[in-house]
Symmetry: C2
């Protein structure tokens, strides 16, 4: 049996585009004499259109396109992952389409409703069925169905000879290995060849990285990471005959690829061509500038340095040098006059108010230039800052997208070092080079430069400590006492947890960013703003 | 049988406070010789602590307090709506506690996962049971359980003689009547007296309005709206003997009460005392100022008028007059110098960039004063503007809370007229008076005054048309063609829908506001930012 595996990039909600994509792949599958053309989960609408699924007109348009696809189908079978409505219930399901007819159906049984997933908001759980295609018995578990033993075993009992698995599996730094491990377990239970087809897309910061694969006791082939790809897979009995060279990435390389795809797709699908960002001479903005160049090309990245009286000479030099090394446009606009005009207009500010005022003067400059040039402003706060609220709302938080939003500061250092010493292999080449920033940008102590001789460490614990506490509290969901019991200083832990709680209101007004960990601070971690828990 | 009905206001996550509240009510119930003390849904943690429920330390603290409550219980029975963990599953459930023991348990069966609800993220569905208390058979369906026939009927079959219903039912303009209608249906099915206990709280903009009631074929009593209240209810056989005077509110009065409670609780629970807002001389900011005075007292509301060269004489007069009528502090800070300094700093702006710049200069002034004074900035955009993105991100959208976020502009007019001619009966009196704004604020054509002679109607359809299209698209979920078929101009409909889609990114960065309709633009309507649906 021959399977055409289409690792494609849908557009969310663009049904017409997605069906063109499906038809083009199907044509190739037919030309390759494939028996089956396999797509990622919900390919007809993209994963995920969220509440568009509640609009009857949206579902009607989907039905119309589905009918036309059915009508024009030939001897090769399309396994169409889509959304179907039956007796007032919506299902995440599969239609098997062949010679103008639907010859089989199967339904997703396990409906994820945790983390970033809200599928119970839309879908009912359905019955997975075995589909007969050209005298082959096919099981089609959908995504979450493979994370538990039940569905695969049930399909095996019903006679399935192979499992073809449409997916939309969000990327995080550990996901590929986790996925392989799960598939190995399922294989040990059912001993059936498994072909896994994942979507590739950056959608509002959730990255689906592709890397579709075939497993029959060992990993036989794996498609590209972070880009569209396809392969014709030969299967005989319970063996996958097709193999290829399987790429391996370092952790940093992989994360870098995810940030590039997340930014690139957000820009492209929202019809932005260029970005604008403030370069401070610090590591966060330097890294974001490098990611932007890798994602969009150096001609589409515009940097503005906005010094105040607290900006050091080194910062000026470093910002300019980053722009030179990346070969991006660079402009200096001092904020001194603006800050003084506002300060005197309201009768004088001091302390935090004066610090925030500087940050907001920068925000307003970037937004004004953005409005004049149609460039999207990138914001450059890292996860550590975002978690404790070490950022100015409507100041440095101004912007449409943040590639490093889910990177702890310690990870920012690692990735900056990586990108400074290597060409990433996880991204498509666009005149890449390295190093991308002066060594000093990585080694000097972080500072917001909003007052004389300020250092981040004046207000926060050292990042190596802070990030461990944050990870314990956020990713591992430990409580205050449990973290203190691990040996961290009580006062520090209490302070950090308090900061996390009282800055939820800021995070709610922050720009979207790329998911890179197992728990982002966005819809993966839903906390009340008004949170009176004392623990 | 005597039931102490405790319509109380919990604090989200503050387990210690909530158990003190429970104990105090229980003492009163004991003093009143009540057989049962009934509370709102999940009173132990407040509805809803969201992902705090995933923290093991949070659940452990809950267990500890529950054990202590059980230990100190007496002959009167506490029906404690809480969260319990059994065999790794969480349940939204009821413990019946008496004389130091748990004498019964029941579980919520219907787990809502639509609209604002995400309960499947936390809870498993459980079995509702009949609880024997003092030889009475009690059914305790929880909130959503009453919206469908199954649970009430099942409890009746199991012998229930009365239904006591703990709730956390979010307010919208139509909810009280909807709720009564549902209860009437359930009564007709099971013919059991029903006592309904609702939480009262404004939590991150979701308002729970109280109005707990008793129904036994007719509405016997109803507790206060928008504030804590309690009553001892006498029940004999299948009749409720207790009655009271049932308050009725006009639609405007009710919505006003919800906005006041939503703002007041947000302020109080986040430890803010005073607010700050820009008064433009327009209706939106005038109404928000009035709501703030009613919620917080006039001494806690500070208005700033920030004129530009486009601000008309009438606007200056009207803003000043609003401040006088509300007796709030009033300050004028011109933005001209700031705008010119920024404009020349970046080499000149024009068009939308110049308009946004003015709005952002105002935002930065308000935020600076906020940082100096610890006053929370209120933002004043209405739902019509919010839906089509007729607002400046980091400009007039700056702020921590927006009482009128979910009011269409046409509703803003109605509520302003109402508040200008009457004292609301839905709120606790705080030196109220009327009128609160000059008549002209309500009658003049809306304008953003960001360029010469600008009117909202230059960019948008008249609000009477716009709001109908918005309601059809948002609340009724109609598609483009369906709305055009209702007789609206094709070009107008297409423009409005396009504006809704392309402004999702702005809404994601907007301040929270009070839910007042059946579909807010916040977590009740989850749309992708990157939305390529053409319909």
């Amino acid at each position: 049996m021959k399977i055409f595996l289409a690792q494609v990039k849908p557009r969310i909600g663009d049904i017409e585009y997605n069906f063109d994509l499906i038809k083009n792949c199907y044509l190739k599958a037919c030309n390759d004499n494939a028996d089956i053309c396999l797509f990622p989960e919900m390919i007809s609408v993209g994963y995920t259109p969220e509440d568009l699924l509640h609009k009857p007109s949206f579902l009607m348009e989907l039905e119309k396109h589905t009918a036309s696809l059915i009508k024009n189908s030939k001897a090769s079978t399309i396994l169409l992952p889509t959304v179907i409505k039956e007796k007032d219930k919506l299902y995440n399901a599969i239609l098997a389409i062949q010679n103008g007819k639907v010859i089989g159906k199967s339904y997703k049984q396990c409906i994820p409703n945790y983390g970033v997933f809200d599928e119970e908001r839309y879908f009912s759980s359905g019955e997975p069925r075995v589909i007969d295609i050209n005298e082959y018995k096919i099981g089609v578990p959908i995504c979450e169905d493979m994370w538990f033993p039940e569905v695969a075993s049930k399909l095996k009992e019903k006679g399935a000879e192979i499992l073809l698995v449409p997916n939309a599996s969000p990327y995080d730094g550990e996901k590929f290995n986790t996925r392989l491990e799960i598939i190995r377990k399922r294989y040990q239970e059912v001993r059936l060849p498994i072909i896994y087809c994942n979507q590739v897309l950056g959608q509002d910061g959730i990255v689906f990285e592709g890397r579709s694969f075939g497993y029959d006791g060992s990993l036989k082939f794996c498609l590209s990471a972070f880009r569209e790809d396809s392969i014709v897979v030969d299967v005989q009995g319970n063996k996958i005959l097709t193999t290829n060279n399987i790429e391996n990435f370092s952790k940093e390389d992989e994360l870098y690829g995810a940030m590039v795809l997340g930014l690139r797709d957000y820009m492209h699908n929202n019809r932005f061509k260029s970005v604008l960002l403030g370069l401070s001479g610090g590591i966060d903005s330097a890294l974001v500038a490098a990611i932007a160049v890798d994602a969009l090309g150096k001609e589409n990245v515009h940097a503005i340095m906005m010094p105040s009286k607290f900006t050091g000479r080194e910062s000026m030099e470093d910002a300019e040098r980053v722009a030179e090394m990346l070969e991006i446009s660079y402009r200096v606009i001092a904020i001194t006059d603006i800050v003084e005009t506002i300060d005197s207009g309201i009768g004088g500010t001091s302390g935090i108010a004066y610090e925030n005022l500087q940050s907001r003067a920068r925000g307003i400059i970037l937004m004004s230039i953005s409005n004049m040039t149609q460039s999207l402003v990138l914001t450059t706060g890292n996860k550590s800052e975002n978690a404790v609220g070490y950022a100015t709302l409507y100041g440095d938080m101004c912007g449409g997208f943040n590639p490093i939003k889910d990177l702890y500061k310690t990870a920012v250092f690692n990735i900056a070092k990586f990108r400074n010493s290597k060409l990433p292999t996880s991204i498509q080449v666009m005149n890449l080079n390295f190093p991308v920033m002066p060594e000093r940008v990585i080694t000097k102590p972080p500072s917001a430069e909003l007052r004389e001789d300020q250092k981040d460490s004046d207000s926060l614990p050292e990042y190596s400590i802070l990030d461990q506490i944050l990870e314990a509290y956020i990713e591992q969901d430990l409580g205050k006492e449990e973290i203190i019991d691990k040996g961290f200083d009580k006062e520090t832990v209490e302070k950090v947890i308090k900061l996390i709680k009282i800055s939820e209101y800021k995070r709610r007004q922050s720009a979207p960013g790329v998911k890179l960990t197992t728990r982002t601070l966005d819809k993966e971690r839903r906390y009340p703003i008004t949170n009176l828990y004392k623990g």
